[in-house]
Symmetry: C2
Amino acid sequence: MIKANNPQLKSWIPTKADSDFPIQNLPFGIFKNGDDHTGAASAIGDFVIDLKTLYDLGYFDGLSLPKEVFSKNTLNEFIGLGKETTRKVRERLSDLLEVSNTELQHNEAVRSSVFIPMDQVQMLLPVHIGDYTDFYSSEQHAYNVGCMFRDPDNALMPNWKHIPVGYHGRASSIAVSGTDFHRPKGQTIAPDAQAPAFGPTKRLDFELEMGFITGKANPLGASIPVAEADEYIFGFVLFNDWSARDVQKWEYVPLGPFLAKNFFSSVSPWIVTMDALEPFQVPGPVQDPQVLPYLELPDRKNFDVNLKVFIQPEGSEEKQVSHSNFKHMYWNVNQQLAHHTANGCNINVGDLYASGTISGPTPEAYGSMLELAWMGTKPIPMPDGTERKFIHDGDTVIMRGYAEKDGVRIGFGEVRNKVLPTL
Amino acid sequence: MIKANNPQLKSWIPTKADSDFPIQNLPFGIFKNGDDHTGAASAIGDFVIDLKTLYDLGYFDGLSLPKEVFSKNTLNEFIGLGKETTRKVRERLSDLLEVSNTELQHNEAVRSSVFIPMDQVQMLLPVHIGDYTDFYSSEQHAYNVGCMFRDPDNALMPNWKHIPVGYHGRASSIAVSGTDFHRPKGQTIAPDAQAPAFGPTKRLDFELEMGFITGKANPLGASIPVAEADEYIFGFVLFNDWSARDVQKWEYVPLGPFLAKNFFSSVSPWIVTMDALEPFQVPGPVQDPQVLPYLELPDRKNFDVNLKVFIQPEGSEEKQVSHSNFKHMYWNVNQQLAHHTANGCNINVGDLYASGTISGPTPEAYGSMLELAWMGTKPIPMPDGTERKFIHDGDTVIMRGYAEKDGVRIGFGEVRNKVLPTL
C-alpha cells in the first residue's frame, strides 16, 4: 500500500466525514490569492495548502526540488519531475499533516500563511494543456447513441470493441470550473430543410467525463506499452465535454466533431493523483472479442469513482440528474494511452485525455442530456417547475465525483459552469 | 501596393532568377547555427539573414521591438507583436537590402556575421504550435475520395458546400522539413477478415497541403468576421499531412481520423507572409449554393501558388508526381477562420491551420498517392524502374511551392522527409 493512502491516517487539521479532501487525498492544483500570489497548492478539508510558502520555509528541503517549481502558474514543471519526485512531495505533505507530527502543527505563525480557506482563493486551470484527446470508451454511451442514430441491432460500429476510439479536440477552449460561457452559434439543418441555417444551438448538452493528465513525455516514434502506461499518468480530473448536438449532427460526417465541441470544455481544478486512486481499482469488464496483444493488460483495472451531475436553473435549487461511475468504462486508461501511441505519436507533460461520456447500464446513470432525456422524448422535471430536454440559458451544470471505501472518501471537488445567453 | 512587394526592387545581394527568396519575399523562420546560436531569420537568395545580430547592431532601432524578440527558439513572440510591427520589420529588411542602400552593403565586417549561407545552418520548426486544425477544402479532393468510397453521384457529403469542413489534429507530432520518421504501425482489417490485425501500414501516403499560421488571438466567445480574418493570418507554409490509408479506413467512423494522421506531419521552415503573397491573389471559384452570411466574402480570394510533389526512391533521382495549385481551393482561408471561430472558439498566436489535400481538376494535379495512383489501380513508375502505389521505406517525399508573376518568384522552399522502416 502507498503509505499516504493508509485509511488509518488522521490529520491534526479536522476534516468532515464528507470532505473531498481528507489526508489520504492531497491533490494538486494552481491557486490565486489576490493579485500577486499565484502558485501550486494541495488541499485538506476546507483549506488550500500553499506549496510555495512551504517550500520557501524549507519544509521540502531534502527532496531536491528545483527552485520556484511551486511558483509557476501551471503544474507542468512540477508533474514533469516524474512520479518518483511528485510521490515524495505527497508523502511529505502526508507526514506534515499527520496528527502526531508537530512541525507545522505547533507553529501557529506559519500555519496561517500556509493554510488558506478555500473560499478565499480562486482556483486556476491546473496545467497548460498541449494536446487534448477525447476518447469514446463507455459501451453504454456508444450503444445509446448508436440506437438513436442507427438501430439497436447495429448500435456499435464494427471497430468499437477493437479500438479505443478517440479523436483530437481543441486545447485552447478548455477552462477551469467556475468559468461561465455563452451559448454557441453554429450551422444546423432542420429535418425537412433544403439548406442549413446559422444561429444559437437549440441542443446544448453536457457530457459527463473523467480526464487524465500525463506527467511524462515519450519521443516521437516511440510507443508506450500498455503495462507501462501508469508511469505516464499523473492524475485525474472531472471533465465536462460541452456539446451542441444539432451542430454536431450536421457537421460530423465524415471527419468527426469540430465546432459542436470546440466552443468550450471544462475541468475541475484539482488533479487527484493516480496514487490516491490506487485503493479504488476494480476489475474492468470482460473484453470480448479479445483485444489485440498491444492492448492486452493482464491486470486490467478500472476505477470505482462515483460521478454525479446536477442542473441548477437560474434562481432555483440544483437537481441531481445523473449518477454514473468511472468503473463503467469498457476501455481503461492504460489501453487508451497504449493505443494513442501505438503508431509512434508523441505525448507531452500536461496533455489531457478525456474518457468520453460515461454512461452506466441504467437510465439514471446516463451521462448526457441526449441520453437522459432520450433525444427530447423524456423531459426531466426541474425544482422550479420547468423541464429540460437540453440545457437552457441561465442553467448551471455541476459535476461532482468521489471514490469511497474503508471510511475514506477521495473527492474531486466539482466542475461547474453557467450558460449565458448567446452574445 | 505594399512597398516591399514592388517587382522593380533589386537587391545588392545577387539572387538567381529561380531563387525562392528574392528581395520581394523576406520570409521568417528560426535557424540554428552551431550549438549556441538559435534565433529568428529571414532569407535572401542563398543566405539566411540573422535578425538577432541585426537587432543587436541597432539596425532595427526606432521600430520599438522588445529586447531579445529575435533570440527565441520560436517566432511566437515576434508574430504576436501584430502585423503593423512585423510589416515594419519586413519593410526595414527590404530597405537594407535594396541596391541603393549602403548601410549594410558597405559594411563588410557586419555583412559576414549577418548573412550566413543556407547550407551552413539548420532550420527549426518556426513556431510553437498551440492547436492544429486540418480543413478539407479542395472540392476535387473531396470528390475523388467520395468517388472511391461511395459513388460519383453522391461523392460530396450534403454539408460539404455549406461548411468549410475541418477537424482537430495533433500538434505535438508536427515537425520541420528534414525530419525523417519511421513507418507507423496501426490496426487495419483485410477485406474479408473477421478481425483486425496490428502491424506496419501498407498504405503510407502524403497529402499536399498549405498551412496558415495565426499571429493574433481572439478571446474565448468572440468570433472573427470573415472580412477581418486577414488581420489574424501572419503567413503560410507548405504542409505534408502524412496519412496511413489502411489505418484511416478502419478507424475513422464515426469520430474522424486519429492514429492514421497523428504519427507525423511536416511543415516547410519559412513562413511566407500574407503580405508577400498579396500580388498573387486571384478570384476564388464560384460558390454555389450561396454560402451563409457569416461566410460571405465579397472580395473572395485565393492565392496562385504552384505546388509540386516529388518522390525520390532510395539511391535514385527524384521524380515529380504532382503539379497542383493553391488557387484550387473551394473555401478560402478567411472563410476557414471565420467558420472556425463562428461558435466562439478562441485561437492563439502560433496556431496552424492546414488546407486539406489540394487536388487540381486534372489527374496530374491530384495531391495524394491515393488519388494519383487511384487506390493502387494506376501505379506510378519511378526513375529506378520500380513503381509506386503508396510510399515505400527509403522514399523521400519533397513538396515545393512558389508563386510567380511580373518576373517575381515568391517561393516557399521545400518540405522534405524520408520514410524509415518501422521500428
